[in-house]
Symmetry: C2
Subunit: 160 residues, 2 copies
């Protein structure tokens, strides 16, 4: 009887432990990934690791470029502009978006932000949590992207 009880307790403990482990493993992955990770963005345009995958290539039928970026914690784009602006859709995680001259915004899963045409901005993950973000570059006949200088640590960490 005692052996039975010990066996039963051990089995249940293992089952519970396994169930709880599966749940925490899910949280440690790169957030909720909808798309393949893609390729690392070049160091010339990003600080830290930003994984880019194209979803809709630019063409003359839709004039719309769409992609997904997974920013690892601390990673961000350089300052840059878009000839017709850009739309960002955050599908998981937490990050930042800043338009030149405006306060840095904290953005998270479910948020949508827009940057107007020919206005400098940057975006990336928060220091501790990554960010899954889709982007839409509309009206590509007006230009796609013009990359500028990196975002300094001071700018990245600035509370404003």
């Amino acid at each position: 009887m005692k052996t039975f009880f010990i066996a039963a307790i051990t089995s249940l403990a293992l089952l519970t432990s396994s169930c709880m482990e599966n749940k925490s493993e899910n949280k440690e992955t790169e957030l909720q990934a909808i798309f393949p990770k893609g390729e690392l963005g070049p160091k010339e345009n990003f600080t830290g690791n930003a994984w880019n995958i194209g979803l809709v290539a630019n063409d003359t039928m839709y004039n719309t470029l769409v992609g997904n970026v997974y920013f690892e914690p601390g990673a961000r784009s350089n300052w840059h502009t878009h000839g017709a602006g850009q739309i960002l859709i955050i599908t998981d995680g937490v990050g930042y978006h800043q338009i030149k001259g405006q306060p840095k915004q904290t953005i998270k899963k479910g948020d949508v932000v827009k940057c107007p045409p020919n206005v400098m901005h940057w975006h990336g993950a928060s220091p501790d949590t990554g960010m899954q973000q889709m982007f839409i570059v509309p009206n590509t006949e007006k230009g796609i992207v013009q990359w500028l200088h990196p975002v300094t640590d001071e700018e990245y960490n600035n509370a404003k």
Copy 2:
């Protein structure tokens, strides 16, 4: 001692049961919802329940309309066209997309489909599994949507 064992077994059994229940509950929810559900699409334009939420309103700066639709199992849009085409991005679940004259496609999480300008198409969930789908209507100066007739059960279920 026997009381202790019984209490321990009961506690562990409840803990395991609760852990497993949480996991299955997640699967029974409306898939991975990134955005609020929104409003039911009108019966004039949809068969079954299709929940629409706007993400980017149409304007003259971006000329791009973006939204999310959660199609419940069996739900679909009517046949319709878009003046500058449409891009669909499936973020969870399984569904169908059909361009007039072409075979019905099965689409799932991570897929991206495009419908050219002024071409009839419909999209919706599969019979047993819902679908979370973002849509992009680009170049809205050419038109947004023209709704047509419902998709018949025969068309919806057609293997072709």
